[in-house]
């Protein structure tokens, strides 16, 4: 599982470089997000721009990560297009997650004013 990480102020932008988030990788995907939180990241932007397919277990892993993050942190999604955007929309996950078009937009929304 490959991620490209980038920190802007207090915001961690994690770009998923794999094409698929399905049952076979979902547990590792979840563990990876848990690791970010363990390292103290409280504002995480998950960039799904490179991902072409996410299944129910992928969404489940995301939801459970969101729950772990709790109310004092942010886990948001950006860059979802095509089948991935469709999956978020048709399962109403776009109401569970804050979704942004690009990483820049997401970072602007999460970073306190003056930090970027």
């Amino acid at each position: 599982m490959r991620f490209e990480e980038n920190t802007v102020g207090d915001v961690l932008v994690a770009k998923m470089l794999d094409k698929r988030i399905a049952a076979d990788v979902a547990p590792r995907f979840k563990a990876h997000l848990a690791e970010y939180m363990k390292l103290g990241n409280r504002s995480i932007v998950l960039d799904l721009g490179e991902v072409g397919f996410i299944d129910s277990s992928g969404l489940g892993a995301l939801v459970s990560s969101l729950k772990s993050m709790g109310k004092d942190g942010d886990l948001v999604v950006c860059g979802a297009t095509g089948a991935v955007a469709s999956m978020f929309k048709l399962t109403r996950m776009d109401k569970v997650f804050r979704m942004f078009g690009s990483a820049d937009e997401a970072v602007r929304a999460l970073a306190p004013v003056g930090q970027i």
């Binding site: 299944d55 129910s56 277990s57 939801v63 089948a83 469709s86 929309k89 048709l90 109401k95």
Partner: protein, 386 residues
């Protein structure tokens, strides 16, 4: 008069749909394209029609049988082999398929029409045959003028005096095209055309036969007639065609069901309470459907027969195949659901099973069994939906 419908194409451009049905069987408001073609041929005076089949042949034959229910005589020319219970197609090409029939029985003994089974057309065949006979043509192609940027998708034709075809180019580059008149896949032939088609060999009408006719100096003509041509050859084409049909924008195309509310046509044996749902036309709801209270259906939308739209579900601008179940938590927007696939208007698609979203959309007849994580997601979405 006699005609032939070319129905062997595998339909790769709409493969997400043609995995389940062959291209001529793709339903427009529940009615296969080929049924409309047979009706139009019948109304134009063609009473004997041979259909060549291979890919998913039984689907076509089980539906049309001998043609008597449509008032024509139908026969099939099967191109392939049954190998251990599986049908294996055998590529003969469109002209090769014609020749096979002629070699078999000499069926084509008078002026005849040939057309592709994957576009809805209402061409004036009588006018086309009149044009063809007047010029003593061996072959006449029905032409259509298209914008220059689209020529690369088609066979392009250059015509001279009286419509005589002087050049033929198969799918030329935009800057190389000799004209913007394209071959629509509708032809009128004389039996003498078979002199130019070899037996037992793959031979294509556009790619092989027409160049051979041009080379031999045979009288081949093209005629541009005004007619509706609704292509369903690709997912975007099918998407557009369905929306036009449900909106009543295809001339002469009947919208099934009864109009129970403005722009909302509903089949029989369907459970629907207009006062407890939000349905905005143009919408066609098939027979034996169940539309739950609180559901939202926004047109243009086509809901196939036997669909279950659960209470609270949202379906906006979608085309749902027969027996699609849309769960109460689902929000379907601009999607085709066909053969257990969610297909976007661009053609991009993913499988319902592969994506593990049977808890959102699946077959209405399937037993509902979900994994624990799917049930958790379902519960979560339910709480936010409330």
């Amino acid at each position: 008069m006699k005609a032939m419908i070319l129905a062997v194409g595998k339909g790769t451009r709409v493969c997400s749909i043609t995995n389940v049905v062959s291209k001529p069987m793709i339903p427009l408001l529940g009615k296969p394209i080929m049924e409309s073609l047979v009706e139009h041929l019948r109304d134009s005076g063609f009473d004997q029609i041979v259909v060549n089949t291979s890919h998913l042949a039984p689907v076509i034959q089980d539906y049309f049988r001998d043609g008597s229910q449509l008032g024509v005589e139908l026969a099939y020319s099967f191109e392939g082999q049954l190998h251990r219970g599986q049908i294996q197609g055998e590529a003969l090409g469109s002209a090769g398929g014609m020749k096979r029939i002629q070699d078999f029985s000499g069926f084509f003994d008078e002026t005849f029409a040939v057309l592709c089974g994957d576009a809805l057309v209402d061409v004036d065949f009588q006018e086309a045959v009149r044009f063809h006979r007047e010029r003593g043509a061996v072959a006449t192609i029905i032409l259509r003028d298209v914008p220059r940027e689209e020529v690369f998708r088609y066979g392009v034709v250059a015509t001279g005096a009286q419509g005589r075809i002087t050049r033929f180019q198969e799918k030329p580059a935009v800057d190389q095209a000799v004209s913007t008149k394209i071959n629509t896949g509708i032809y009128i032939f004389e039996p003498s055309v078979f002199d130019y088609i070899p037996s037992g060999k793959s031979f294509d009408i556009g790619g092989d036969l027409f160049p051979a006719l041009v080379a031999a100096g045979a009288p081949m003509f093209g005629v541009e007639l005004p007619f509706q041509w609704v292509d369903i050859g690709s997912v975007p084409d099918y998407w557009d065609a369905s929306r036009l049909a449900v909106s009543g924008s295809i001339r002469g195309y009947r919208i099934p069901g009864r109009e129970l509310a403005p722009g909302v046509h509903v089949g029989i044996n369907t459970r629907w309470n207009p006062a407890r749902t939000t349905v905005r036309g143009p919408v066609v709801i098939g027979s034996s459907c169940s539309i739950g209270d609180g559901a939202v259906i926004q047109g243009p939308a086509v809901i196939g027969a036997g669909c279950v739209i659960e209470p609270g579900a949202v379906v906006r601008e979608c085309i749902l195949a027969d027996y699609t179940r849309v769960s109460s938590v689902a929000r379907l927007e601009r999607l085709l659901v066909f053969g257990n696939q969610c297909i976007q208007p661009t053609g991009e698609h993913f499988g319902v099973e592969e994506a593990g979203i049977g808890w959102v959309v699946d077959d209405a007849r399937a037993k509902q069994e979900f994994a624990v994580e799917q049930l958790e997601l379902l519960e979560l979405v339910r709480t936010i939906a409330d």
